[in-house]
Amino acid sequence: MSETTGQTSGETAAPETGNGTQERGVGMRILGALARVREASVLLVAVGLAIYFQSANSAFLSQQNILTLSRYAVPYVVIAAALCLLLICGEIDLSVGQSFAFAPIVMYLAYDKLFLVLPLAVLVGLLAVALVGLINGVITVYLGVSSLITTLGMFFLLAGLCVTLTGGFPATPPDANTTTRILGEYAWSGTIWAVVIVILLQLLLSRTRWGLHTYATGGNPLGSREAGVSVARIKIGNFMLCAVLGGFVGIIESFRISSIDPLAGGPQLVLLCIASAVIGGTALLGGVGTATGAFLGALVLIILQNGFTLQGISAYTFNIILGIAILVAMILNVYVARLRGAGRV
């Protein structure tokens, strides 16, 4: 008989759900507006910070500093935007910073030890990190290990490999030639790559089936699967894309600084990029976010860091502000997720 009671209570609950929908409608409308202005507000913060730092120190907007800032921002911007894709489909890649360090090392070995021509060596480096992404994806999707754990393991695995393969010492990338100039030696090449990659990722997200399915996968994984979306393919594909972009920007960076550093992929890099994506409006629970938002989030963090450096403020202060910014962004995200969760009853 207990089942009959359950059934009745289910029926009486129905009209209440109907009313809830109305309230939820208003709540979601406000949050929807908030989400839409999120990017604009992050942009506003970036501009505000730029104006403030310029007034404090006129060197901030000098051509030299803009060049420095934009070159320094390249890895953060690209990795944040790439991570954003993965976060939207409900996963995370903590090892992307190590892919950043690993790809140039594999490229260097292919060039120096296997005597491949440089473009081919670059390709080998990218294939290596594509494999890393594939392994991350397969372990997460098919073996059911949380991506937080999968990629944490991969983080240490790659960190060890990077040091082992190089003997722990930085290597020097090949001498200047057309390939290295295109890939990073020319002063603005990294910046151009970064902007192009962010634009392409944003197009992928908002204008293609892949992007739509990425949102669907993160928003309602079971429902997407029922609708026939290949959730496994989307997730594994995004793991690979994220790792390849991380590796690619690592190669660009190695040409820029003319050094292949086995320790380049420390935790600071990936954590800052996750922070950038979150500040830019990406929901860690999936379904929400934009590459542009992640780009702007990274920009804000880099401007803060650079501005503080110019003012002679210590890195500790930067960390305090970064911490507060992440907490505020996360509280907002949790609030959004809670309302959406209520909407699913």
């Binding site: 008989m1 089942e3 009959t4 059934q7 289910g10 609950a13 129905a14 009209p15 759900t17 109907g18 929908t21 109305q22 939820r24 409608g25 979601m28 409308r29 929807g32 197009l203 204008r207 293609t208 089936r209 739509l212 399915h213 949102y215 669907a216 993160g218 928003g219 309602n220 079971l222 429902g223 997407s224 699967r225 029922e226 609708a227 026939g228 979306v229 379904g287 929400v288 959406r340 909407g343 699913r344």
Partner: protein, 266 residues
């Protein structure tokens, strides 16, 4: 029960859209479907009823290619099919509206409408065409929503169900499976969905299986009812030859037996 089975087998095979013969599905040691014989004629609405845990959802997911049966066979329009995926069942015209509706709250109505069958121009989404078609489809079906740009999260339960049904219908559906189409809905919204089902039956002649716990609400729109119990279809009769009261009696007698601690019939 004997009669029921006879009438099921006695129907002309040529008229069946879907036919299940002795379908078995086990999960480990648990046998959920123990040989289901079922058929849906062309243009027919079949009410599939059964208690919680009778295996309704398992049967549904077997027909839609989500689960692979451990025994028996499925025939679509007289031909045996070996469904390996949901996509394959969909390609054969079997469209399902799941209880959770498979809608993505974060996406707009028109993106949900075309989820996984998006219209594109080259590599890019053709949003304009999808919006136009969505508006036309919903108008044709008499479904009214505030805006097709709205995120699905902002719609009511009835509106969401209607969108899910419309999506299934316009994905070249030859047969529709509706899992608890009136779940968590008030009378007003439920009536809207029943009207929708009635119209689909009359205007398009799409065969449908309504999987329901609460049969009384959908009794009027069904042509025939099947009762799934203990992993088998134990009752199969046209609605003209049975009544809500009779179905209730069958279900209640089961509860009585259970309360007296007698073993259930099998």
């Amino acid at each position: 029960m004997e009669n029921g089975n006879n009438s099921a087998n006695g129907s002309a095979n040529g008229n069946d859209f879907l036919r299940a013969e002795g379908v078995v599905k086990n999960f480990g040691a648990v046998s959920v479907l123990k040989g289901v014989d079922m058929h849906v004629k062309k243009g027919e609405v079949l009410g599939l009823i059964g208690d919680n845990g009778a295996g309704k959802s398992t049967l549904l997911k077997t027909i839609t290619g989500f689960h692979r049966p451990d025994g028996g066979k499925l025939l679509i329009e007289g031909e045996e099919v070996n469904l390996r995926s949901v996509a394959q069942a969909r390609a054969l015209g079997i469209q399902t509206v799941y209880q959770d509706l498979a809608l993505v709250n974060e996406l707009s109505v028109f993106h949900n409408m075309f989820l996984n069958s998006e219209l594109t121009v080259g590599p890019f989404l053709n949003n304009r065409a999808m919006k136009e078609k969505t508006a036309r489809y919903l108008e044709d079906m008499g479904v009214r929503i505030p805006s097709i740009d709205t995120e699905v999260a902002r719609l009511s339960g009835g509106q969401r169900q209607a969108i899910a049904v419309a999506r299934a219908v316009y994905s070249d559906a030859k047969m529709l499976l509706l899992d608890e189409p009136l779940a968590a809905m008030g009378a007003k919204e439920g009536a809207l969905i029943l009207d929708l089902i009635q119209r689909l039956k009359e205007e398009r002649g799409i065969p449908m299986i309504l999987i329901v716990h609460n049969y009384a609400q959908v009794f009027d729109v069904c042509d025939r009812v099947n009762l799934l119990r203990n992993g088998r279809i134990e009752f199969d009769r046209p609605v003209g030859e049975t009544s809500v009261e009779e179905l209730t009696e069958i279900v209640v007698s089961e509860y009585r037996k259970a309360r007296q601690g007698k073993p259930t019939s099998g």
